[in-house]
Symmetry: C2
Subunit: 433 residues, 2 copies
């Protein structure tokens, strides 16, 4: 295979289109260890410069799915199963609130999640802030819980999409992450293999997200929608704001608390809006056969009548966790960050807040770093909020004074205050259906 | 280092210029095994698309030299030592004729050569056609022979430029060979480490060469001249024709025979001209302090008075070989290829003749293939020669009928005959001094 791989690299380097058989052979041989990392690294860099056509992107995605096991949740349950995916941002605990609300509306929600790296958190890390919560279920346990509880969120099992795992690790250290086709294939191969019938994709846009511009986010969303549909899935994508952290809480236990509050109707405005909007899309895609408006209404009702929070508690218990919010770990030290002047919050940059949470010990700089689930940042004031001189802008939840002080300085610097009230920006920037 | 290497790859991918310290760190860490192949593969592909500035190319060359040992032949001998290098072609036995003539003129000629791969032959393989000839000398033996005989041609020792050896193997299987900076750095790092003071570079142009156009060859030649001069070497480059095989003989023992004949003044016109032109440049660069015209005159005299052939015999004996041409291996079977019509040879394509010699067993398809030194092709007619219908065009020297038949068909197809005498094309297309 070594010689043929070199030919495929050269063809891509020279801007030629590879056919599905060639891409399948390359990816499957790589997953079997028959094509070495260095050839895939050169291939990915050639793709970075020459791109992949939509046919090539689908063939790559399909080959990655075929590199391992996959499940058909709809068949296993005899029901349409829904799933959501976010491209990642700061304070993004959407899955933790959306899952219980959708389940409370009678629609099975089954999802495999990832861990955080760098400034973007990971759903699995947040779930593990809940004492006792098990994210590593077998596929059989996953399906059984989905059948019984209507909701299961677990880590990706090792036998799903092994080619993506290899390729993602390689791209990470060879400066070949930033390519829309490779990103879309990585995300969608996992979604397709994980087996949901309908998927809502939340593509984040802004300084705290992977996609910095709306135009780039739209291209990624359209690519993923097309990949999902070619694989027979129903897909809706929302482009959402990540110029500031989502909600107020950034940090694992803090985010669980905020998600649970939102499920009870006590969440911050921007996060609540995103959660209800996502639920509306998921319910409209489900076998309830209702409109998005009706989906939104039912989601609001499930929050209002407490059935969503009941679903939250049932789900956490089903995965071995303690749903009592008082059981969540608490940081020993809470320090406030005070405004140095009065005015309106013009900007609250997401990236430095995310990095502050990492530096507090709440995230990973390298793959195998341990995480302190208790620490993080609570942004008391967000864009557009009025602030008095000396009023608290944020809380730092820290392990010690040293890390608290650094985080306070970083978070203060993330705020820009001014005299004029800034123009309101919606959380959902666009919807692609 | 892994993280920093990823940053350097990304910087190059994004078209930024790396500084000498960064390139040195990357290459030396790679040579020490601290940066993995997959990062260098991605780096080389980024270089393929973004190129290297001349400062970067020099830093890369310098780092490759510093990855291993190097020698200063001029210091070791107390004399200026000259060397030549060819970018490779079909029938290129120039070194075997130039070395003895230059040595006969009293100028030390010390060279490290390579082996052939694919349709281009390698000087070491040709030398090993001579019974007993040893190409693997230690550095001390190399210097001692150069001092005593004035001429030594050996294989590159393992401790010279190990980074190039690693990098070249990697580029070969990742479609990253075709970049002028990487090619120039690879060649010149070896020339610089091998220690000659003055170098003549023979850049071949045409279908049998790596560079297909004169413009590309010129860019490569200029890049190599600049690298050599920055490293304190005197360099002249000649751009020479490789649209047809050089001389008549293609195949190891056949080429030794032709080179020896040329040293005695009995060589084919094009090859003789290239040899004398190269000798003139080398003698002008030497410590004889003479002009090129005087160099040419002395080279012609050394051929005419037999001192060049004496030098040939002394040199071959010094390296353990038998200089008797009758001792060279002979193929069991010689088959003629006949013209299918009369006329003039319009073209004799170099590449298919080179490949025919490989298929006869005279070259390597893969790195570790064994070589039959006796086989090959003798082109009796070359471009511009008149041919009668049914007259022999070439001889195939083969091991057996089957391979002879295939080679005869391939060589016949390499000839294009026509009615008009084609315009003469000089062997030396240009000289860059």
């Amino acid at each position: 295979m070594t010689i043929r791989a070199a030919e495929l690299i050269q063809a891509k380097r020279d801007g030629k289109e590879l056919d599905a058989a060639q891409l399948t052979e390359l990816i499957l041989a790589y997953a079997r260890g028959e094509v070495p990392d260095y050839q895939l690294a050169a291939f990915c860099m050639a793709v970075y410069f020459q791109g992949l056509s939509s046919a090539e992107t689908f063939a790559l995605t399909d080959a990655m799915v075929r590199s391992g096991a996959s499940i058909a949740l709809g068949e296993a349950l005899g029901r349409k199963v829904v799933d959501k995916h976010s491209t990642g941002g700061v304070g993004d605990k959407t899955t933790l609130a959306v899952g219980p609300i959708v389940a409370a509306c009678g629609v099975p929600f089954g999802k495999m999640s990832g861990r955080g790296l760098g400034h973007t958190g990971g759903t699995l890390d947040k779930l593990e802030a809940i004492p006792g919560f098990r994210v590593e279920l077998t596929l059989d346990e996953f399906v059984a819980q989905l059948r019984e509880t209507g909701l299961a969120i677990i880590g990706q099992t090792a036998d799903l999409v092994p080619a993506d795992k290899l390729l993602y690790g390689l791209r990470d250290v060879t400066a070949t992450v930033d390519n829309v086709s490779l990103i879309a294939a990585s995300i969608m191969s996992k979604k397709i293999a994980a087996g949901a019938d309908a998927i809502v994709l939340d593509v984040k846009v802004g300084d705290g997200a992977f996609m910095k511009s709306l135009a780039d986010a739209r291209v990624l969303a359209e690519t993923m929608i097309s990949l999902g549909r070619r694989a027979g899935r129903e897909v809706v994508a929302v482009l959402t704001d990540m110029e500031q952290p989502l909600g107020r809480a950034v940090g694992n236990a803090l985010e669980v608390r905020e998600a649970a509050a939102t499920v009870r109707g006590e969440g911050p405005d921007d996060f609540t809006e995103l959660v209800l909007d996502s639920c509306a899309h998921l319910l409209a895609l489900s076998d309830l056969e209702i409109t998005e408006e009706e989906g939104r209404r039912r989601a609001e009702a499930a929050v209002a009548d407490g059935s969503a929070f009941d679903a939250y508690e049932r789900w956490v218990r089903a995965q071995g966790g303690d749903p009592d919010l008082a059981a969540l770990p608490k940081a020993p030290l809470i320090r406030e960050v005070f405004a140095q002047r009065g005015g309106y919050v013009q900007e609250l940059a997401a990236l430095p807040v995310g990095l502050a949470a990492v530096h507090l010990g709440g995230g990973r700089r390298a793959k195998d770093d341990a995480i302190d689930h208790s620490v993080g940042v609570v942004c008391l004031k967000k864009r557009g909020d009025a602030v008095g001189d000396g009023e608290p802008l944020a809380e730092i939840h820290a392990r010690d004074e040293t890390s608290a002080e650094q985080a306070a300085a970083d978070v203060l610097a993330a705020y820009r205050l001014g005299d004029e009230e800034p123009r309101a920006r919606p959380i959902v920037l666009d919807t692609l259906a």
